[in-house]
C-alpha cells in the first residue's frame, strides 16, 4: 500500500506539471511572451504545490497508521498478556510475524485475533492515508491551477521554493555536526552521570586512571577481574603511535615538499605528485593489512636477530605504516604553504649571496613556519583519529608503556572493539566507547580549529 502511494505520488507530479503547463499556454492563446513567467515555471510550481502536501500526508500518516494498528492489536490481545510488559514485546513480534505471513505453524488464538486486528487496521489506515493524500493533492491542484494567469508570478514563487531547498541542503552540514555532538555528548553524559548505570566511573577516575579494562563490566559476577575505565593507557598508546608516525612522516613529508617546491623540475614534479596522490588514496584497511602481515613480522624478525623482544603487534609497525599514510598529507599541505611564500623574500636572500638551501632554511621555512606547524597539527589529528591501521596492527591490551616494540592500544581501537558486535545501550562498556568518541572528537576538533585558524591568519599575511 505504501508503495502504491509512492507510485501514485510520483506519477501525479508530472501529470500536474504537464496540465499546468498546458493551461499556461492556453490562457495566453499560445503566446508565451505575454506571460509573466514561462509556462514551464507554471508547471513546476503546480507540480511542487501538489507534491509537498502529498509528501507531508505520507510522512505523517504512515507512522501514525503503524502506531494505531499496533495499539489496536495490543487491545485485541488477551488482557494478561497485554499487561505483562516483558512478554508483550515478544508477543508483538509474533503478532507481526503472523500478520506478514512469516509465522510457521499455528499461532495461539489470541495472537491470531491480534494479528487480524493489526492487518485490518493497517489496511484501513493505509487506504485512509491514500484517500486523504489524493484529496489533498486534488485540492492543492485546484487551488494552484486556478491561479494560472498571465500576470501570475509563477517563477518567483517557484524560485522561493528552490531557495528553501538549497538552504535545507546547506543546513544538513550543520545538522551532521549537531548529530555528532548530540550522540557523543548525550551518551557520554550517561556514562558519567546516569544513576541507573552500574560500574560507571567518575570523571577523574576516567581521566587519571591508569587501568583500562571495560570487558569485566559485562559480567558482574566475575569478582576477580576489576572493571576499570582509566583513560591514561589509551592516551599514552595513542600518543606513542602518533609520535612514531609523525617522526616518520614529518621529515619525509617536509623534505619531499621542500624538494618538490624548490628544487624539482616541472617534469619531476609532474611525475612525483601522482605517486604521493596514489599513496594518499590507498584505503587505510590496505595499509593495515600491510602493517599487520608484512611490516610487523619484518620488524619482529629484525628485532629478534638483534636479540630484542618485539611484540607481534608492536607500536612501531603500526606507527611506521601510519607515518606512510601521513607523508602525502604533510607534503601537500607544506608544498602549498611553501609555494605561498612570496618570491620577493627569496630574491632578497639570493641577492645577499645565499645558497639555495640557506635561502630555504633561513628565509622560506621561517616564513612558512605557521603553515607548516598547522600542517603538522592536522597530521596529528589525522593520526589520532585513524582507525583501521591500528585496529589491524596494534594490540588490544591497554598497557602503560612507552616502548615502541611493545603492543599498545589506542582510543580508536577500543571504540571499535567495544562497539563491534552486539551492544546494549545500558551497559557502561558500550557508553565508554561514546565517551572515548567524545574525547576523540573534541581533541581532533581543537587541533583542526587551531590549525585552520593559523592557516587563515597566515594566508591573510601574504594575500
Amino acid at each position: 500500500m505504501t508503495t502504491l502511494y509512492f507510485v501514485i505520488m510520483v506519477a501525479l507530479v508530472p501529470v500536474a506539471f504537464w496540465a499546468a503547463r498546458r493551461r499556461a499556454f492556453a490562457v495566453v492563446e499560445g503566446r508565451p511572451g505575454v506571460l509573466h513567467s514561462l509556462p514551464t515555471y507554471h508547471g513546476l510550481l503546480v507540480a511542487v504545490i501538489v507534491f509537498i502536501p502529498m509528501l507531508v500526508v505520507f510522512a505523517l500518516g504512515t507512522p501514525a497508521v503503524g502506531r494505531l494498528a499496533e495499539a489496536r492489536a495490543v487491545a485485541a490481545l488477551p488482557s494478561d498478556v497485554a499487561a505483562d510488559l516483558l512478554r508483550r514485546s515478544a508477543v508483538m513480534r509474533e503478532v507481526a510475524n503472523v500478520a506478514s505471513g512469516n509465522h510457521a505453524g499455528d499461532p495461539a488464538p489470541g495472537i491470531r485475533a491480534a494479528a487480524d486486528s493489526l492487518v485490518a487496521t493497517r489496511d484501513a489506515g493505509h487506504l485512509a492515508v491514500l484517500v486523504l493524500g489524493l484529496a489533498v493533492a486534488a485540492a492543492a491542484f485546484a487551488f494552484a491551477y486556478r491561479r494560472i494567469a498571465p500576470a501570475f508570478r509563477a517563477r518567483n514563487h517557484f524560485e522561493r521554493f528552490v531557495r528553501v531547498v538549497l538552504m535545507a541542503c546547506a543546513a544538513i552540514a550543520i545538522l551532521t555536526t549537531i548529530g555528532i555532538v548530540f550522540s557523543v555528548v548525550f551518551e557520554t553524559y550517561r556514562f558519567f552521570f546516569d544513576p541507573a548505570l552500574k560500574g560507571r566511573p567518575t570523571v577523574s577516575e576516567f581521566l587519571f586512571g591508569t587501568e583500562w579494562n571495560p570487558q569485566a563490566a559485562m559480567r558482574a559476577d566475575q569478582g576477580d577481574i576489576r572493571t576499570a575505565f582509566g583513560f591514561v593507557p589509551l592516551l599514552t598508546g595513542t600518543l606513542l603511535i602518533t609520535a612514531i608516525a609523525i617522526a616518520v612522516a614529518g621529515p619525509l613529508g617536509l623534505f619531499s615538499a621542500i624538494y618538490l617546491a624548490e628544487y624539482a623540475s616541472p617534469r619531476l614534479r609532474a611525475s612525483v605528485k601522482p605517486i604521493l596522490e596514489i599513496l594518499a588514496g590507498i584505503p587505510t584497511v590496505v595499509l593495515g593489512f600491510f602493517a599487520a602481515l608484512t611490516v610487523a613480522p619484518l620488524i619482529r624478525g629484525w628485532g629478534e636477530s638483534f636479540g630484542l623482544d618485539v611484540s607481534s603487534e608492536s607500536a612501531l609497525a603500526a606507527g611506521l605504516v601510519m607515518g606512510m599514510m601521513i607523508i602525502p598529507f604533510i607534503s601537500s599541505l607544506s608544498d602549498d604553504v611553501i609555494n605561498a611564500v612570496p618570491q620577493s623574500l627569496r630574491d632578497g636572500a639570493y641577492a645577499l649571496g645565499s645558497t639555495k638551501s640557506e635561502t630555504i632554511r633561513r628565509v622560506v621555512l621561517p616564513a612558512a613556519l605557521p603553515g607548516i606547524v598547522s600542517a603538522f597539527m592536522l597530521a596529528v589529528s589525522r593520526a589520532v583519529g585513524e582507525t583501521m591501521i591500528v585496529v589491524m596492527a596494534a594490540g588490544l591490551a591497554a598497557k602503560l608503556t612507552f616502548n615502541p616494540l611493545d603492543a599498545v592500544t589506542t582510543i580508536t581501537v577500543q571504540i571499535k572493539t567495544i562497539l563491534v558486535g552486539d551492544q546494549e545501550f545500558d551497559s557502561a562498556k558500550t557508553l565508554a566507547a561514546f565517551a572515548l568518541g567524545f574525547v576523540l572528537f573534541f581533541v581532533t576538533l581543537m587541533l583542526n580549529v587551531i590549525a585552520l585558524q593559523i592557516v587563515r591568519r597566515y594566508r591573510e599575511q601574504y594575500d
Binding site: 499560445g30 508565451p32 511572451g33 505575454v34 506571460l35 509573466h36 514561462l38 500576470a151
Partner: protein, 277 residues
Amino acid sequence: MPEALSIRTAAESSPAAATAATAAPREIKVTARDVNVSYGEKQALFDVDVDIAARSVMAFIGPSGCGKSTFLRCINRMNDTIPICRVTGRIEVDGRDIYDPEIDVVQLRARVGMVFQKPNPFPKSIYENVAYGPRLHGMATNKAELDAIVEESLRRASLWKEVSDRLEQPGTGLSGGQQQRLCIARAIAVSPEIILMDEPCSALDPIATARIEELIDELTENFTIIIVTHSMQQAARVSQRTAFFHLGRLIEEGPTEQIFSNPKDRRTQDYITGRFG
C-alpha cells in the same frame, strides 16, 4: 503582462519615429531624480538628476571612480547583485519607477539590456548565446521563430555574415571584436528599449572599436543607448548628448557638441582639456 506587451509595440513602432530624432521634441525615456548610491559606508553617487531621450545615444564620461558605471548599473538594477549596495532616489523608465517593489527586476533587465566592458559570451554555441534571452522570455513559440530572431539579431549586430555558417561553434572561439558584437546581438535579441554599454570597446583594438561605433550609430534607430566611455573622442563620435561625472556627482549634461566645445563648468573644461583624468 501589459508592460511586456508595450515593449514590443514600442520596438516595432520605433523605425517611424526614429528618423526625426533631432528635430522632434525629445521623448524622455529615462528620468533620474536625486539618485544616491552607497556601498556600505562609502557613498558613490550624490543626487544625480538626468533625463535621457529615447532613440539617442547618451555618453557618460568622467575620470575613473567618478560613479558613471555605478549610475549605469542602477538603470537596470545590476547593483542589486552587490549585497552592500544601497540605492535611493527615483529612476523612471517610461515614467515608471524601476525601484518600485512591484517591478520585477528580471523583466526590467529584459527591457534594459546591457553590454559589458569585457566581452563575456556564454561558453556555449553562437546560436545558443543569442537564443538564450528570447527563450527565457518566451518570445518564440517554435524553432522557426527563434531562428528568425537569432538571424535578425546577428544581422543587426552586423555579425551575421561572419558567423552564419558556424552558428554551432562556441561563442568563446570568436575574436574579441566579434565576441563583443555577439554580446550586442545577444542583448538586442530580447528587443530591449534601452541598451547600456559599460566601456564596450575598452578591451578591443581600434578596428574592432570602429566597427562597434558604427554599429552603435545604426542601433540608435531603434534603441536608446547609454554608453560609459573613457575615451572622449568616442563620446564625441557616437553620442548626441554627454554627461560628465566627477567624484560621484553629475557635473554637467548637455548636447555633446556643446559639452566638448563650450562646457559650462570649470571641472568639465579641465577634464576635456586633459588637466586631470
